[in-house]
């Protein structure tokens, strides 16, 4: 039931206009690519490479007729090797259901502190790295000094990146930069290198360290000419004072 009979016509018109509002071009694909990067980085790096390779080749060939976002979604599925979650899509403005859904369980967990959701991600993986990087780059060699620095888990790529993201979101820029530099030292060509480079730019921009930010932007464009995160770099550059 939609209770449309009680809906004010003008309100209904506004609703229709709002629903028809387009999302930015490529937004869904970018989100899926980001999720794919974060998930595959820890869950199944090797499998992710295979799946993403398939996805990329399929997307580039256009043979499947699937959109990039759908291909990426398939890559996510393959990479995670799931089966834990069945296919239940969202029915946007779908017809009324034949049967009432059983009561779902919305996420209503209390958040004990200001950084809860973001900090909670520390134990998981940063949603960051686009799939193709896992294909293009060889798996990073084991860091020479990782064992000396700390327990091995403490130097995992996703953990470092996620820690840096959390620090950046909390405004702890120095801490974020220190973590990112550590990542750069330990995983110079890691699967999350592009995300790291973008985060460094964003940290410098937030810190208003204009010279270093511009230098990093130039370096990013040189090293990632076809990077998936170019839009974020463009936004960071735009945020710099002229």
């Amino acid at each position: 039931m939609r209770d449309d009979d009680q809906l004010d016509p003008e309100l209904a018109a506004l609703y229709a206009k709002e629903r028809a509002m387009p999302l930015p071009d490529g937004a869904t694909a970018r989100v899926l690519a980001g999720v794919l990067g974060g998930v595959t980085a820890s869950a199944a790096a090797v499998t992710a490479s295979t799946a993403a390779t398939s996805a990329t080749s399929a997307a580039s060939s256009g043979a499947t007729g699937l959109s990039l976002g759908k291909v990426i979604a398939i890559a996510v599925a393959s990479a995670i090797g799931g089966g834990t979650v069945a296919v239940v899509g969202y029915r946007e403005l779908a017809s009324p259901p034949a049967v009432q859904q059983p009561a779902p369980t919305p996420d209503r967990e209390p958040h004990p502190d200001a950084s809860s959701a973001i900090d909670a991600n520390v134990e998981i993986d940063a949603p960051a790295e686009p799939a193709p990087r896992a294909i293009d780059r060889p798996r990073p060699a084991p860091p020479p000094d990782a064992a000396e620095d700390s327990p091995a888990d403490d130097t995992r790529e996703p953990l470092l990146i996620d820690r840096a993201r959390a620090a950046l979101r909390r405004g702890l820029i120095d801490e974020a930069l220190a973590t990112l530099m550590r990542h750069e030292r330990i995983h110079p060509s890691g699967a999350l290198a592009e995300e790291r480079d973008v985060l460094i730019i964003e940290a410098y921009v937030a810190q208003k360290t204009t010279t270093l930010a511009r230098r990093r932007i130039e370096r990013y464009r040189r090293e990632h000419p076809a990077g998936f995160l170019r839009a974020r770099v463009d936004r960071a550059e735009a945020a710099l004072a002229p």
Partner: protein, 159 residues
């Protein structure tokens, strides 16, 4: 795995973020966070149920935490940086601002039931309230939304 990670759900989360007043320039990053958390908690998701209400809960929590950060607390919907990436429409802005001005229990109903297309029953289940309560909230939400829209239009006309 998972049509949790399908385009429809991504669109739902992105639109929900915008409807809840998230700054457009951060909507994609926030959506990524939503899906990373969804992936981490996928074992809690009942595949027989609709994904949208579950994702809605995560989305609200992610946005709530985002707003707790001091630097995001005073974000406005229409800073100049967003104009290049999102098509602007004054009516849509007006509607979204008016929705954001409603109490949370009413704005949730408008977003899920009126804008996202969930049924009253689905929305009631998602929010954990009886159907009668949901219908009452929906009536109040539409009435208050109309009042808020009219008030904002009058203010704009006199500005």
């Amino acid at each position: 795995m998972s049509a949790l990670f399908c385009e429809d759900n991504v669109r739902f989360v992105l639109r929900t973020l915008l409807r809840l007043g998230a700054p457009p320039r951060d909507a994609e990053d926030l959506a990524q966070e939503v899906f990373v958390i969804a992936h981490r908690r996928a074992s809690e998701f009942d595949a027989a149920r609709l994904a949208a209400p579950w994702l809605f809960g995560i989305t609200k929590n992610v946005l709530r935490d985002y707003r707790k950060l001091a630097r995001n607390r005073y974000e406005v919907l229409d800073d100049a940086g967003d104009r290049s990436t999102v098509t602007r429409d004054d009516d849509v802005d007006l509607l979204r601002r008016a929705i954001a001005a409603l109490p949370e229990e009413l704005s949730d109903v408008v977003i899920l039931c009126d804008l996202s297309g969930l049924t009253v029953l689905e929305t009631a289940s998602a929010l954990g309230v009886p159907e009668g309560t949901l219908k009452d909230r929906l009536r109040r939400a539409r009435r208050d939304l109309r009042v808020e829209i009219d008030r904002r239009r009058q203010e704009a006309a006199h500005a």
